[in-house]
């Protein structure tokens, strides 16, 4: 694979619910290292795109390729194993488990020992458990959560829960990370921190990121390119400066003006 071959290649994906076309002919190609924004008014089909990518529902047509490999027919957990991780718009942590365990669970997909080895406590199990603990702790340190690792996830403040979701997603060792409105519910201070954090993990983890975000301040600041979705159809794609001036985009956002909040 050459370096300019797309890491995530979405080709002509369509999905209807009943008679409603939720997403039609969605195509985007992300080269490695790209931070790509996906924006659009409420109900434009952005989260549906994520659900189609992660296999929550099957697309009616089209194909998704991750690092050159087709994901067709794969279940969500198989896609995670292939290197696709996500966060959720309405946070879905494991509420009654500790912060540390939340991240440890995401390491499971990269373990190689068997259940028998775990019950007999054989060396491979012990080694991997140690590695899991170490990695999970390091991940929490990056996201500034290391002093709360024994708390139940449900007791974290909102912003910390959002960060924990990203930490958890990263623990699966993804090639591509899908972030669904990571800044939602954060205060301006937290949003600034989030921008820096996303840039940092993009570089440090060698990621490719597809980002859904309503906060134009965040999107316009950190994204390399942006795709705009309206009624399930792509109406524009380009670098942030170009998108901001695109008349179709402005029209789509009329009544919901694209103001920079942060």
């Amino acid at each position: 694979m050459t370096s300019d071959a797309p890491m995530l290649d979405i080709r002509g994906v369509c999905k209807s619910f009943g008679g409603l076309k939720a997403v039609s002919d969605f195509s985007v190609a992300l080269p490695p290292g790209r931070l790509h924004g996906l924006i659009g008014p409420n109900g434009a089909g952005k989260t549906t795109v994520f659900n189609l990518l992660t296999g929550v529902y099957p697309p009616d047509s089209g194909d998704v390729r991750l690092a050159g490999r087709s994901l067709r027919g794969l279940k969500p957990h198989q896609r995670a194993a292939a290197g696709l991780a996500r966060t959720f718009q309405n946070i879905r942590l494991f509420p009654d488990l500790s912060v540390l365990d939340n991240v440890k669970i995401a390491c499971h997909v990269r373990t190689t020992h068997t259940m028998a080895e775990a019950i007999l406590r054989l060396p491979r199990h012990r080694a991997e458990e140690r590695a899991i603990t170490e990695r999970a702790r390091r991940m929490l340190a990056i996201f500034d959560l290391d002093d709360r690792q024994t708390e139940d996830a449900k007791n974290l403040p909102y912003g910390a829960q959002r960060r924990l979701e990203i930490a958890r997603a990263l623990a699966t060792e993804p090639k591509v990370l899908l972030l669904d409105e990571p800044a939602a519910g954060m205060n301006p201070q937290e949003k600034l921190g989030l921008r820096a954090l996303i840039r940092k993990v993009l570089a440090d983890f060698g990621l490719t990121i597809l980002l859904i975000e309503h906060d134009m301040g965040v999107v316009m600041d950190i994204c390399d390119r942006i795709t705009v979705l309206d009624y399930g159809v792509i109406i524009a794609e380009g670098p942030p400066a170009q998108i901001q001036k695109n008349p179709k985009v402005i029209e789509a956002y009329l009544g919901e003006p694209a103001t920079a909040e942060a």
Partner: protein, 383 residues
């Protein structure tokens, strides 16, 4: 190779130490079982001894059901069905094998009858080998049935499992009632083809004549094995994967957890241990194994233990098994109210302490006691 696996390679401990530490708790369990049998059993009456057996068997049942109902958050209501299947399967093995091999269903020397009063028998007798083998057969048959029951229902949403397992227990009961009479003499057994023997388990009259191999030693060895396996699952990466399914199945799947596979796995492991418990139950002195063993009532008993102990708490389930087994003794003056009290306890527990008494925590964890009045979280944890 994943970063994690790479990192783990450099951390791998030596085999010898791992194995020794891995087996140490089992050795401790073995010692405990021997102590119970050799130093306790001879000094207590048969009745408390029987209670101790019941407690142990119920511990195995409750802890195994915790893996399904507590860890993965599914809800099985047919645990007694698996227990009965295991009990019948291992009973068939010991009864008919004894008939074929030794011409009589009598116990061919129990392990610790050997230790206590050697009577010229070796420490581990042929009967014990057969019994151990039969327990494994019982567990395996029950586990295989677990696959057959779990696969269709666990592909769907959780509460279907409840209804399917409830139905499964009934099917087991009805099918057992259709079986043919037990063959009473060695000649009959020899003249019957082996593949037909499993159908001769007494029908609605019950399966009597199973040799009585079950002793405190075997029961508490099984308790130790079950507890160790359950703890090691729970505290390792597989246990966390199980718990994540309970917490949020969609998020678990998105994090790469094979939710369907693990739900079935947990269910099968639970069925296996229920089968072992069934084997221990059917070889207990004075038990006429009958189809009723597969009925709802026994399943409900086990469910109550799991729910009271805390959904996901192994030590909680074990403690509840002790309490629920002894409770009828204490409630004897108001015996007819026993089930009414259980039922009310279940409802009130769900309303006021929905995760059970100890929740997912173990008894020695501080957070397990949060239901006590005046409880404060540990200093380290910020609220």
């Amino acid at each position: 190779m994943s970063l994690l696996a790479e990192q783990a390679r450099s951390m791998r401990p030596a085999w010898g130490g791992s194995l020794a530490r891995g087996l140490a708790p089992l050795a401790a369990g073995l010692v405990l079982a021997v102590v119970l049998q050799v130093f306790i059993r001879p000094y207590i009456d048969p009745y408390p001894a029987k209670l101790l057996l019941d407690i142990g068997i119920n511990c195995v049942l409750a802890v195994s059901l915790t893996m399904v109902n507590g860890f993965t958050g599914q809800f099985s209501m047919g645990h007694a069905g698996f227990m009965a299947v295991g009990g019948y399967a291992s009973g068939i093995v010991t009864y008919y094998a004894s008939m074929r091999l030794w011409g009589s269903p009598e116990a061919a020397g129990g392990v610790l009858s050997g230790i206590l009063d050697l009577q010229g028998l070796p420490l581990v007798t042929k009967g014990d080998v057969l019994f151990l083998f039969s327990l494994l057969v019982g567990g395996t048959v029950s586990g295989l049935l677990g696959v057959a029951v779990g696969l269709p229902s666990l592909r769907l949403r959780g509460d279907y499992l409840a209804i399917v397992t409830l139905g499964f227990g009934e099917i087991v009961r009805v099918l057992i009632q259709q079986t043919r009479p037990v063959l009473g003499t060695a000649e009959e057994v020899r003249s019957t083809p082996t593949w037909q023997l499993p159908s001769h388990v007494g029908g609605s009259l019950g399966f009597s004549g199973i040799p009585t191999y079950t002793s405190l030693f075997w029961v508490y060895l099984a308790v130790a094995v079950t507890l160790i396996a359950a703890f090691r699952l729970k505290t390792g990466t597989f246990g966390r994967a199980f718990l994540s399914i309970r917490e949020d199945e969609i998020a678990a799947e998105a994090m790469g957890i094979k939710t369907t596979r693990y739900k079935v796995t947990a269910f099968v492991i639970a069925a296996f241990f229920a089968g072992i418990a069934g084997g221990l139950f059917s070889h207990t002195l004075g038990i006429g194994l009958s189809a009723e063993a597969a009925g709802f009532l026994k399943s409900f008993d086990v469910i109550i233990m799991v729910v009271l102990g805390g959904l996901g708490s192994i030590s909680g389930a074990a403690a509840a098994a002790v309490v629920v087994t002894l409770l009828p003794e204490w409630l004897r003056p108001v015996a007819e109210y026993r089930m009414v009290i259980y039922a009310l306890a279940l409802i009130l527990m769900m309303i006021f302490r929905p995760k059970g008494l100890f929740g997912v925590r173990e008894i020695w964890e501080r957070a397990a006691w949060s239901w006590l009045p005046g409880w404060r979280p540990a200093k380290g944890a910020r609220r």
